[in-house]
């Protein structure tokens, strides 16, 4: 890793980089681009050279320049999402983001879609519990006109009757189909069992759908999509001086700021003592399980990541796969993951098996948990987990779209710009003592609530 300043041409950059003050961080350099009115701080990391800047209009951007393909991958996000839906209007944020590319300004939905197709660009928005986001991709030759489309969508979305009526029709169908969707049924049962009264257990229903209005969507947009706190990441054939004015143009129609509500931390209920069974007529049972995990800031987080790889996250290298698929042929696949979000942290897993073997399958999962708690991992397993987790990390940086997404993940989690460079060292630092302590603390079968969707045989209750 080395320092450099990338601005105003390569020769200029080299000259400046030689003059970098000694007291700078060894990978970060800053320059005042007076003519442009903004600074660019270059972080020359191991996996990507990230240029950080705040546009003259005040938007914070992380950019990776990648000239080899004439495209730009763009992500924009805000740290507030669906939990801001008012009581009784569950689904409002989802409805709002649906309409963000359904017509703006003089363009109705058809004209907007055709406009995007003519530019060969894409632009769409979405939301999760704690974030709202818009993603775009474009050909750099068409960047100016593509950003005009985004600007129009941000400034003057139409929320027309036609798309709104279609949205409600689609939602009506989706309220029906989700009732036989095993993954949905399992996640609802998990919420009911572990955090029934938290905002994360709220969901769209027929009543809240009927209560949605176009005005409510406009209000929601003005609350969630604002200039203040907006995060942008971009990867493509474009420089900071080219990108900054385009972003400023795109966001100029957004409100400057707003108030959003803070979600309370989820307090998990005690684990269910017997599997929760949801009847669904199908030949296989979906088995999922969940237990408390730790926050991302917890010193044990990377220990859990390493442990999870060996236990159930590592595909064919995991103990659960080796036992339940390879040795016993009970499933096509079983996985686990540590899901540490800001307000909720769960250690989750799942797999499918024929109804007749549901009981054997669950017993097998629990035996593997108990064995990990009692005996821990081996040195060989620890070494293999670290080797994979560190060695595979570069695979996540081989496309513009992936890098833009990863940078946004880091920004939403409020991690530092050198996170990518330091992450492998945090994995390497995990010791066998750590993993065995964390296994004993977190992986007891009694910690886990099992949910079974299907027609499982041999389960009591």
């Amino acid at each position: 890793m080395r320092s450099s300043i990338l601005f105003g041409g390569a020769a200029f950059a080299v000259a400046l980089s030689a003059c970098t003050p000694a007291n700078q961080d060894d990978t970060n350099t800053e320059i005042d681009v007076a003519a442009q009115g903004f600074f660019v701080e270059v972080h020359d990391g191991e996996f990507a050279t990230i240029q950080q800047f705040t546009t003259p209009g005040g938007v914070s951007v992380w950019l990776v320049e990648e000239p080899s393909i004439p495209i730009l991958s763009l992500r924009m996000a805000w740290q507030a999402g669906e939990t801001n839906d008012p009581e009784g209007l569950e689904g409002l944020t989802n409805a709002m983001v649906y309409h963000m590319n359904e017509g703006a300004g003089e363009l109705d939905a058809q004209a907007f879609f055709k406009g995007m197709e003519e530019l060969n660009m894409s632009f769409s928005c979405g939301a999760s519990n704690e974030s709202t986001y818009c993603n775009a991709s474009m050909l750099t030759d068409n960047a100016d006109a593509s950003f005009d489309m985004i600007a129009l969508a941000f400034a003057e979305p139409r929320f027309d009757d036609g798309p709104f009526e279609r949205f409600k029709r689609e939602q009506e169908v989706s309220l029906q189909t989700r009732e036989t969707n095993p993954q949905y049924l399992a996640s609802r049962a998990r919420a009911d069992a572990l955090y029934p009264d938290h905002a994360y257990a709220r969901e769209t229903d027929a009543e809240s759908l009927a209560a949605l209005t176009q005005d409510a969507m406009r209000t929601q947009k003005d609350m969630l999509m604002v200039q203040d706190g907006m995060l942008v990441t971009a990867v493509g054939a474009m420089s900071p001086e080219e990108l900054a004015p385009l972003i400023d143009k795109a966001v100029s129609g957004l409100p400057e700021t707003s108030e959003t509500a803070e979600t309370s931390d989820v307090v998990l209920a005690a684990a269910a003592t017997a599997p929760v069974v949801i009847e669904l007529p199908q030949p296989q049972s979906l088995v999922t399980f969940a237990a408390p995990a730790m926050t991302r800031e917890d010193p044990d987080f990377y220990t859990a990541v390493v442990l999870n790889y060996t236990f159930g996250g590592g595909g064919f290298e995991s103990r659960l796969m080796k036992d339940l698929r390879v040795a016993k042929g009970l499933t096509y696949g079983i996985y686990t993951q540590v899901s540490s979000q800001d307000k909720i942290q769960l250690w989750t897993g799942g797999g499918q098996t024929k109804n007749e073997s549901a009981s054997e399958f669950i017993a097998g999962i629990k035996e593997n948990m108990s064995a990990m708690v009692a005996e821990g991992m081996t040195e060989e397993e620890l070494a293999a987990a670290k080797a994979y987790l560190t060695g595979s990390y570069p695979l996540g940086f081989d496309s513009n779209a992936k890098i833009a997404a990863r940078m946004m993940g880091v920004r939403l989690d409020e991690l530092p710009v050198d996170f990518f460079d330091k992450r492998n060292a945090m994995v390497e630092a995990v010791t066998l003592e750590d993993v065995n302590r964390v296994a004993a603390e977190y992986l007891s079968p009694e910690n886990f609530t099992f949910i079974v969707v299907g027609q499982p045989e041999g389960l009591d209750g």
Binding site: E117, N120, V173, P182, Q352, S399
Partner: protein, 453 residues
């Protein structure tokens, strides 16, 4: 891991992305050569990150299975991860993983492919591993051994992919009728009873007949040069003697037009949203590229996405459907179906929906396509070329699958130009011929259990 591709996915991969050599200034180009033992090699340079995707494609798939042995190509793909002379069961996985690699394999009607994604310095070792299992696989003949366990895994895979999923059950029934009498009529994952009866000897026979360098294509995409790949490939694959047992013939055949109109319904208590389909005889890019390009453009105008004629009329204006469109599977070697589909709005019966779709189809085909729509669609398809280059894995899949069905690089490289040269008249003529009034079709309906709405 170890999955199979349904025709839909395979077809979409090809029809959606057979394109990348655009009019951009940088002269991106693949490099191709052949090893002395007959193994083809393709190198797809992408120097953005120090990563490579290494793939070996075998020119064998479900199409080549013998009667009564459905599913052997796919089960065999699973077995390739088991013991070899030098590797114990599971060691292939653990070596790749310990190097930070990700790997998998997949099977379709037309091919079987294995891949690893690794940091580039491990490319040689990936080749060594693939070469090892190309020549030295040991098939476990123990009646309680790994071949049999893996057969159980595949049966669970079948339950998960097909039997649990009413839409997949219906599609399997429809395709069996659509390709009745053609080798594609058997499902890739295999019929449950036939999979259950597959034996280790079936695996041994299959391995001998098809797994040999002259029946394989090496594709390497990523941060590597043609010369580097040539050196490594000659070292690891070039030393393998051709088995001499592969005759190279495939069971591909003409797909006969449907001889009657058929109706197939599948109802299941899990179905909450009915779906209506019509399957017509279509084409393939491999057999008739000009017609396939025209059909792909025409079907996008007619029914590809939310600016298409059918969607606008049925979903936006008449509001009888929540979704409606048309597409064709043109990426298989032999002709796949051209499909019309629609899902009814709440309260709309299947009869009403069908009447609305067929009336709208007749109206649009009578009226013809606008030049503006055709230009927009073909430019979009050509631009997918540029976006496709963002994923080295997609590029490797694109080239590998096309070469595995006997296609050539030049056709791929000229795709953007060829698709841009489709005229409004050609696009319309292709769609009119596929959906002509006197053509036969299979009508399929996915219904709730009582068959009523």
């Amino acid at each position: 891991m170890k999955y199979w591709i349904s025709g839909g996915l395979a077809a979409l991969t090809l029809s959606g992305g057979l394109s990348f050599a655009d009019n951009t200034a940088d002269a991106w180009a693949p490099e191709t050569f052949k090893l002395s033992n007959g193994m083809d090699v393709v190198v797809l340079p992408d120097h953005r990150a120090p990563v490579v995707t290494h793939m070996v494609w075998y020119k064998v798939g479900a199409v080549d299975e013998d009667p009564g042995k459905s599913g052997i190509a796919h089960l065999f793909e699973h077995v390739m991860f088991k013991d070899t002379d030098d590797l114990e069961d599971g060691e292939f996985d653990s070596i790749v993983s310990s190097l930070g690699g990700q790997h998998n394999a997949f099977t379709s009607w037309d091919y079987t492919a294995y891949y690893q994604r690794v940091a580039k310095q491990h490319l040689g070792q990936m080749m060594a591993l693939e070469a090892e299992r190309m020549t030295d696989l040991i098939i476990d003949e123990d009646p309680e051994g790994s071949f049999i366990t893996e057969r159980d895994v595949v049966r669970e895979e079948r339950r998960q992919r097909i039997d649990n999923n009413p839409g997949a059950v219906l599609q399997e029934q429809v395709l069996a009728e659509f390709w009745d009498g053609h080798p594609y009529e058997i499902t890739v994952i295999g019929i449950m009873d036939e999979v259950e009866a597959l034996t280790p000897q079936d695996g041994i026979d299959f391995y001998k007949k098809y797994y040999s360098p002259e029946n394989a294509i090496l594709v390497v995409a990523g941060d590597v040069s043609g010369d580097e790949v040539r050196t490594l490939a000659e070292e690891h694959y070039g030393q393998i003697e051709p088995s001499g047992l592969v005759d190279g013939s495939r069971k591909w055949a003409e797909v006969e037009p449907l001889t009657e109109i058929q109706e197939i319904t599948h109802s299941d208590p899990k179905v909450r949203q009915p779906v209506w389909y019509r399957y017509y005889n279509g084409t393939s890019q491999r057999r008739d590229p000009a017609f396939a390009y025209a059909l792909d453009v025409g079907l996008d105008v007619l029914g590809g996405g939310n600016t298409s004629l059918l969607y606008v009329a049925l979903v936006e204006e008449q509001k009888v459907a929540v979704n409606a469109g048309a597409f064709a599977w043109t990426g298989l070697h032999d002709d796949g179906p051209a499909v019309l589909y629609a899902t009814p709005s709440p309260g709309v019966t299947m009869e009403e929906l069908e009447a609305a779709v067929t009336a709208e189809l007749a109206k649009q085909l009578e009226a013809g396509f606008s030049e503006e729509d055709v230009v927009r669609v073909r430019n979009s398809k050509a631009a997918e070329a540029i976006y496709a280059r963002d994923s080295q894995q997609s590029m490797a899949n694109l080239f590998g699958s096309w070469l595995a069905i006997g296609g050539d690089i030049d056709t791929l490289m000229s795709y953007s130009d060829d698709i841009r040269s489709v005229t409004t008249e050609q696009a319309l003529a292709a769609v009119r011929s596929v959906f002509a009034d006197d053509n036969n079709y299979i009508e399929a309906q996915l219904l709730p259990e009582d068959g009523e709405l």
